[in-house]
């Protein structure tokens, strides 16, 4: 409002250039560094300083990636869908349990410390137990993945449901709203930022859970490929698999970021 006079004086295309300049300033340094590192890596590999067994050249990794794309994508399926199933189930269960526990204060006081205590257990150490319980199939991986991803979501939901300032609860009481109405109209929207941050952590854990399950059962999936190529010193394939796994993680993460952007567009309480 205050700078109307000034901004009218600048030609509009100047602003676009400014935008481009800001983005460039952000991306250029890491991009340049990355290119330099890759270049140095390539040069060292060609020159024979870097053992091809331990660290093949980027060109070789890329080459392997393209050649094995079929196999890699095929093995990415169980990993990707396992993580998807894991996070979605964990989200549903986690939010439901979090909401249920938050229903009454005594219930929450009783249950929340136990949940926090469960967070302390290094859950990955329980992977072999899940193996015993559920065998070695895809379902077992998903169940383990749900188990790991579930806790951050529950904790985030419980914390979030307490985020609404108490004046809002008083407002709802004065308007004679029922418990359920207060929950839907006020408490849950205020909990959303916390829930989403819990979901972001949960996505990471879900992927870790699936990959770990694949490490241990060693039958399918990107985790299996990584282990297999490590055992056979096929380092190029290993790196290619890691690259694809990174892509899987990015896709899932991006989905939840987009979801968060949409939902918070409607219900932003920050």
């Amino acid at each position: 409002m205050t700078d109307i006079g000034l901004s009218l004086a600048r030609p509009p295309w100047r602003d676009l250039a400014g935008l481009g300049r800001d983005t460039a300033r952000l991306i250029a340094p890491p991009l340049v560094l990355a290119i330099l590192l890759l270049g140095g890596w390539e040069a060292l590999s060609r020159g024979g300083t870097l053992s091809a067994r331990l660290l093949p050249a980027p060109s070789k990794v890329f080459d392997t990636f393209v050649r094995s794309l079929g196999v890699l994508l095929e093995q990415a399926q169980p990993t990707f869908w396992g993580a998807v199933a894991g996070i979605f189930l964990a989200a549903a269960l986690g939010i439901a349990l979090g909401a249920a526990v938050s229903y009454s204060r005594p219930l929450m006081q009783a249950v929340y410390p136990t949940i926090v205590f469960f967070q302390l257990i290094p859950k990955v150490a329980l992977a072999p137990v899940f193996l015993l319980w559920f065998g070695t199939g895809f379902a077992a991986n998903v169940i383990f993945s749900v188990f790991i991803a579930f806790f951050p979501v529950v904790v985030a939901t419980i914390t979030g449901l307490q985020a609404a300032p108490p004046s809002y609860e008083r407002l709802c009481r004065s308007l004679m709203m029922s418990r359920l109405q207060t929950f839907a109209a006020v408490k849950f929207p205020f909990a959303l930022p916390h829930i989403f941050s819990g979901l972001r952590i949960g996505v990471t854990f879900a992927v870790i859970g699936v990959v770990l399950g694949e490490f241990i059962t060693a039958q399918t999936g990107l985790g299996y490929i990584i282990l297999f190529s490590a055992n056979n010193f096929e380092t190029a394939l290993l790196l290619a698999a890691i690259l694809l796994l990174c892509g899987v993680g990015i896709v899932l993460f991006a989905f939840f970021l987009a979801l968060e952007a949409i939902v918070m567009g409607l219900y932003d309480s920050r």
């Binding site: 004046s167 809002y168 109405q181 929207p189």
Partner: protein, 283 residues
């Protein structure tokens, strides 16, 4: 954004409350020997409100004035039905009060607007609580909400979110929300305490205008003597804790009142009298 005195209309309709009983002048809110004690029976027992009795007549604007911590907000909460008296009874519109009433409108110090809803949707929020006859999508209701926002001076801001509004503007939205379902009793707990002095004067004018337009029975809690004298027909003074009513005076100024009456001798004499009452209460 000040409202010129010429915009204030002379209005004094007679209120027929939804309860059907009270004509102007009848006792609308009856507080009978109400006492509030916290932690009764334990070592941390605290008497917040000493036995107090008073009545508010239909259509009256009463200010409840007292120093901080004297229990005036507690008393308002009890009249709102959000807290229960330890002793005594409260009656509103001829019925004993045991829980919040759908026909009572309340304003708090914090506007408490939902951050993700527009100003208009915030005003319509009470209709989301299904105990009303109509929902928030109802045409006449939406029109009434829009008119209220226009009346408080938020004409171009219906679709703004709270974070785009100043503190004073948010409280105006809160006023509209309290009035939109046409309550017969309006309770206000220091709604302007958190605002700066200039905005506060503007809000007093807005409240006056809205009250004279919609003329409900009103109880306004404040610790500002000038605010109480400016707004009310009648001022009840509460002592320090444990609070009890120690003074009940009628304010003689005619309505509509402009801010300039604050400069008159009579106004300041009344303020001085009230100040003396507050300062000299025995412990």
């Amino acid at each position: 954004m000040s409202i010129p005195a010429a915009a204030l209309r002379v209005v004094r309709p007679v209120v027929a409350s939804p309860g059907g009983v009270a004509a102007a002048g009848a006792d609308y809110v009856v507080v009978d020997r109400v006492r509030k004690v916290y932690n009764e029976g334990s070592r941390q027992q605290v008497e917040a409100v000493a036995p107090s009795s008073f009545a508010i007549k239909a259509g009256e604007f009463v200010a409840l004035l007292g120093p901080s911590g004297c229990g005036k907000s507690t008393l308002l909460m009890m009249i709102a039905g959000l807290d229960a008296p330890s002793q005594g009874t409260i009656g509103v519109a001829g019925h004993a009060l045991t829980q919040p009433r759908a026909e009572t409108g309340i304003m708090f110090q914090d506007p408490t607007l939902l951050p993700w809803k527009s100003a208009l949707d915030n005003v319509l929020f009470p209709f989301l609580a299904a105990k009303r006859a109509v929902g928030p999508a109802d045409g006449p209701t939406r029109a009434r909400a829009a008119t209220l926002l226009d009346q408080v001076g938020l004409g171009g801001f219906h679709h703004h979110k709270p974070r785009q509004l100043s503190g004073g503007m948010r409280q105006r939205v809160a006023i509209c929300r309290a009035l939109v379902y046409e309550p017969d009793l309006l309770l206000m707990d220091e709604p302007f305490s958190a605002l700066d002095a200039i905005t506060r004067d503007e809000m007093n004018l807005v409240l006056m205008k809205m009250w004279e337009e919609h003329h409900r029975t009103a109880l306004f809690v404040t610790h500002s003597i000038r605010e109480a004298v400016y707004l009310a027909d009648r001022v009840l003074v509460m002592s320090r804790r444990p609070g009890r009513i120690i003074e009940d005076i009628r304010i003689p100024f005619a309505r509509p009142r402009g801010l300039e009456i604050g400069e008159t001798v009579e106004f300041n004499e009344i303020c001085g009298h009230l100040r003396g009452k507050i300062q000299h209460t025995p412990q």
